[in-house]
């Protein structure tokens, strides 16, 4: 009987795993000794980092999407039928339509979602670019903005660690291009006592903020937003007025994870080197869904997926473990409309970003197009 690999989640990490397994298990798929199935929530695949550019009119919406079935290897049946319950004891996943899928190996790749509803007033009073609807509303708000106090408010936890700095520098460039800079003031808030969680990035950002005239308020964890008074208040006791509030909302995992009792907040307890679910030998967790103390980022998802592809293939073909995940993360950092840098690190190598350059910005712009090669497992 065929070994069943079930992948729950049709985002980047699940798609890379599916496509990579198809390459490594090519003969097993042909002979029918292995079958791979994927369940997802949408029939399109979205390039999420592109959302950063949508509010500024720098990317068209259509450029962010492709048909998931065209990104996915055609040997993987894909069903737009989200998981409703994941039972790791019975090795069965039940979907919203009522179907049940059994498995020999399960890959949970359900990702994360924004939860502005978790902070009173945030939905009504703020803008964000972390989903398409939010990016559209923010685009409209920017179009109508005539200058004033801009607060860029960051909350934990969130995916894409560099987005806070990227949106801040891009916002500054946007205001300058519109001739609104002298009528505006940007204040950036961050949850801990420095400008970014990555210490070298935070140190690099200090003179950059000074150079660009960007104010900051650190140790700021949002307690509430008052949309009528147009103020935002922190747990630490600070209240800031705003004319335009841009937020990176706190995130959680997906509802199916909590409903299935797989992890508080929707984050599944995961072994940091094997990426197996704690207590499981046949359930892998990949991407934002893990509870690992690691960046929730596309590159993390990519490097984790590569490890899972190697290990799952090796277990099936050779009945042995291939290699551990070393915690690698690599992120581009846009530092404005015309410059960028990058940072990489792993569990044992600290980050050390280089100076921004136009070349690295162009490399990031190129990657915005090459992303689809990563999703297809080719890059």
């Amino acid at each position: 009987m065929a070994k069943q690999i079930l992948i729950v989640g049709g985002g980047l990490s699940g798609t890379i795993v599916a496509n990579g397994l198809c390459r490594q298990l090519h003969s097993e798929l042909s002979s029918g000794s292995v079958a791979i199935t994927m369940l997802g929530a949408q029939d399109t695949h979205m390039y999420q980092p592109g959302l950063l550019y949508v509010p500024f009119g720098r990317m068209r919406e259509s450029e962010l999407f492709r048909s998931q079935r065209k990104v996915l290897d055609r040997r993987v049946p894909y069903f737009v039928d989200p998981a409703k319950n994941i039972d790791v004891d019975k090795k069965a996943v039940t979907t919203q339509s009522g179907k049940t899928y059994g498995y020999d190996f399960l890959v949970i790749a359900t990702g994360s979602r924004i939860r502005p509803d978790n902070i009173p007033g945030m939905v009504e009073g703020s803008h964000w670019f972390y989903d398409l609807e939010g990016a559209r509303k923010m685009r409209d708000a920017l179009t109508n903005f005539k200058g004033g106090k801009v607060v860029i408010n960051i909350n934990a936890p969130h995916k894409c660690p560099v987005a806070p700095l990227e949106i801040t520098f891009m916002m500054k460039d946007y205001l300058a291009a519109k001739g609104l800079l002298d009528k505006s003031e940007i204040t950036y808030t961050y949850p801990i006592g420095r400008l970014h969680s990555l210490e070298p990035v935070a140190h690099w950002a200090v003179p950059e903020f000074q150079r660009h005239g960007i104010k900051s308020e650190t140790f700021f964890n949002t307690k509430s937003v008052d949309p009528k008074a147009k103020t935002i208040t922190s747990e630490e006791g600070t209240t800031l007025p705003y004319d335009l509030l841009i937020t990176v909302p706190p995130h959680s995992g997906q509802q199916v994870i909590t409903d299935s009792n797989l992890g508080a907040g929707g984050w599944v307890p995961t072994v940091r080197n094997t990426l197996l679910r704690e207590g499981s030998s046949n359930v892998f967790i990949v991407g934002d869904t893990t509870n690992l103390p690691i960046s929730k980022a596309g590159s993390t998802a990519h490097f984790e997926a590569d490890t899972i592809i190697d290990n799952l293939s090796s277990l099936i073909k050779e009945d042995r473990w291939a290699r551990d995940y070393d915690g690698k993360v690599f992120c581009f950092v846009e530092t404005g409309f015309s410059s960028g840098t990058y940072v990489w690190f792993n569990y044992t190598t600290p980050p050390n970003p280089g100076p921004p350059s136009q070349m690295l910005h162009w490399f990031k712009l190129a990657y915005n197009r090459m992303y689809w090669l990563s999703a297809r497992g080719l890059l």
Binding site: G193, S197, P350
Partner: protein, 76 residues
């Protein structure tokens, strides 16, 4: 009171031990404890500083073999 939540943030550069604690506090109830393991000496200063600022309880900080254990109780 639930079992203490453990956050192993050793070798965590991003988002880092304090951000992990802030995220974990959103998942537990008042009175619950969170134990953070950090290999970053800065955590010994950063975490108690923030915990006191927002009026949670710092239960204790102990040095282990190659890391620190910091226990926080959610107070509000």
């Amino acid at each position: 009171m639930s079992e203490r939540m453990k956050v192993d943030a050793r070798g965590a550069y991003c988002p880092g031990p304090l951000m992990e604690l802030i995220a974990a506090l959103k998942l537990v109830k008042i009175g619950d404890e969170i134990e953070v393991w950090s290999s970053d000496k800065g955590s010994v200063k950063d975490i108690p500083e923030w915990v006191n600022k927002v009026h949670h309880d710092m239960v204790g900080v102990t040095q282990q073999d190659g890391y620190w254990s910091l226990v926080v109780r959610k107070a509000k």
